[in-house]
């Protein structure tokens, strides 16, 4: 059963047609990795799934995105519930302008958790899951802006997990991390996939190989190929895919 079904998705910023007729199924409780050269529309694809794109001026979206067989762009859908269901880790970490604790507690709080004890629990649990707890447990009150970029990235992961989403969309979640921390995040994601459906965008092909169950390759806004990891990495049908994953010039 597919968790997310994208059919004929087109996105343009003004006259710039960025995603061209993308159709893709994302299976439940698996990791789907999206690869593709810079500027091909990966971030745009992720943001179109949880309707973040419509916050921008002049964006046109057509096609359909179904989550659990419900259309995301249906006007009757409660967009806040939808976004709660789909956590997104952005390419650059943006902590909220508040303390470390409040960053993680922000989501649960707006969704109605008020009890201090419960919040403490949630914060600790998710900071541990993101591998940040040991570093920040003594300064939960200090501003999130004081963390290093890599720590901020893990903070954002904890913040995302704290609202217990069903789907996690990761836009290069490890771009600012050292290999060791990146490895840890990677392991975390692998563990999480028993409970979550995960979509990861990455430029790192080796990581893609390690993480992926399924792979989609986007090139200049078109979804060239998608399928099981084996099919794509060992036996690509399209010439452009083959060149990209073998690291040759793909132009």
């Amino acid at each position: 059963m597919y968790h997310i079904t994208i059919k004929g998705l087109n996105v343009s910023y003004g006259n710039h047609h960025v995603l061209k007729n993308v159709s893709l199924e994302i299976p439940r409780n698996k990791i789907t990795v999206i690869i593709g050269p810079s500027g091909c529309g990966k971030t745009t694809l992720l943001k179109s799934l949880n309707r973040l794109l419509e916050l921008q001026e002049g964006v046109r979206i057509s096609g359909s995105v179904l989550v659990d067989d419900e259309s995301v762009y249906d006007p009757k859908v409660d967009v806040t519930e939808l976004r709660k269901k789909m956590g997104l880790l952005s390419q650059r970490p943006y902590p909220l302008p508040m303390s470390i604790f409040d960053n993680v507690a922000y989501g649960p709080r707006i969704h109605g958790t008020r009890k201090r004890k419960k919040l403490n629990e949630i914060v600790e649990k998710n900071l541990r899951a993101a591998g940040l707890w040991e570093e920040v447990k003594d300064r939960l009150k200090s501003p999130a802006a004081s963390l290093s970029i890599g720590q901020q990235q893990r903070l954002c992961l904890a913040r995302c997990l704290a609202v217990s989403p069903e789907i996690i969309l990761c836009d290069e979640p490890t771009s600012a991390l050292d290999p060791f921390s990146a490895q840890k995040i990677e392991e975390t994601l692998s563990e999480l996939k028993t409970d979550y459906t995960i979509v990861v965008v990455t430029h790192n092909l080796r990581r893609a190989r390690r993480l992926a169950d399924y792979v989609g390759f986007i090139f200049l806004g078109e979804l060239i190929e998608h399928g099981g990891k084996k099919d794509i990495f060992e036996n690509p049908k399209d010439e452009r895919t083959r060149r990209y994953i073998s690291g040759e010039s793909y132009l």
């Binding site: 952005s90 922000y106 707006i110 999130a144 913040r159």
Partner: protein
């Protein structure tokens, strides 16, 4: 070849001269008020209200005007903050199209330039219509009109610098627009809001034309919103207008008090602004 350098020289001299004129004249303003005002300033000026005969040179002070001005400026600044924040938030993409926002911005720009006396006149006309007399309430309303465009413009400017991704981070967690605006964006722009408040407060406490008709003048400290209220700028103005030198001296002292309040406020806000920037994401 040489001509260019002569020209450069000439202009450089002119520029330095202009800078001196400007700094000189501004220091002259402060200096003159300081010297003339300090001579007439006394403790009773700031601890007593005006007694009968104060404007003929008898004893008393301008405490009523000081307190009145603070009431007026605080009231107007609080009211206009209350109105400005929603307006500034409303100009964002979540609520209106960019084009609509620009139309609103244009009308705010126009409001910014409207002379304060017009707010006074308009406010008074409305008050006549409603049968109200000059009062603290009337003064606060007129000053609010004056401060509103200043504040909205200042807040709008800092709002435009908030990275879109920051708002997206909040929305991704399932926050509504209201929550994002008031819990996340407000914290991010807190330093900007503070300077907008200071700017508007400074403009409000110093303005005389808009409260000339609407706030009235009295020797007492008002006890309700419907009482008339004295104010420092008008105290300066009225005292200057008397033919008695000793009362005019008090005008200088009152001007000095006003100047000190404004400068203190601005300086201290600058010193404290860092504190409010603690959580800001860059």
């Amino acid at each position: 070849m040489n001509l260019r350098h002569v020209e450069e020289r000439c202009f450089k001299v002119l520029m330095i001269a202009a800078t001196f004129i400007i700094l000189g004249s501004l220091f002259a303003v402060i200096g003159v008020i300081l010297v003339k005002g300090a001579g007439a300033l006394s403790l009773s000026m700031i601890t007593q209200t005006s007694k009968g005969g104060y404007y003929l040179g008898k004893e008393g002070g301008v405490l009523n005007a000081i307190v009145g001005s603070l009431y007026l400026a605080f009231g107007a600044t609080a009211t206009s903050l209350l109105v400005s924040l929603p307006i500034a938030f409303c100009l964002q993409r979540e609520y209106v199209k960019a084009r609509t926002a620009n139309v609103v911005r244009l009308s705010l720009d126009v409001l910014w330039g409207v002379p304060s006396i017009i707010y006074g006149v308009f406010g008074f006309t409305i008050m006549l219509l409603l049968g109200l007399r000059a009062s603290l309430l009337g003064g606060i309303v007129a000053l609010t009109l004056l401060e509103l465009p200043i504040m909205v413009r200042a807040i709008d400017e800092v709002l435009q610098m908030v990275p879109r991704e920051l708002k997206e981070a909040s929305y991704t967690l399932g926050a509504t627009r209201y929550e994002t605006m008031f819990k996340v964006v407000t914290r991010q722009i807190l330093p900007g809001i503070i300077s907008a408040i200071i700017l508007a407060f400074g403009r409000g406490i110093g303005d005389a034309a808009s409260i000339l008709f609407t706030a009235g003048y009295t020797d007492h400290i008002p006890s309700s919103l419907l009482d008339p209220v004295a104010s420092l700028p008008l105290a300066v103005f009225f005292q200057m207008g008397t033919p008695f030198p000793e009362v005019q001296e008090r005008a200088y002292a009152s001007a000095l008090i006003l100047l000190i309040i404004v400068l203190l406020l601005t300086v201290s806000s600058r010193l404290f602004s860092r504190r409010f920037a603690k959580f800001v994401i860059r």
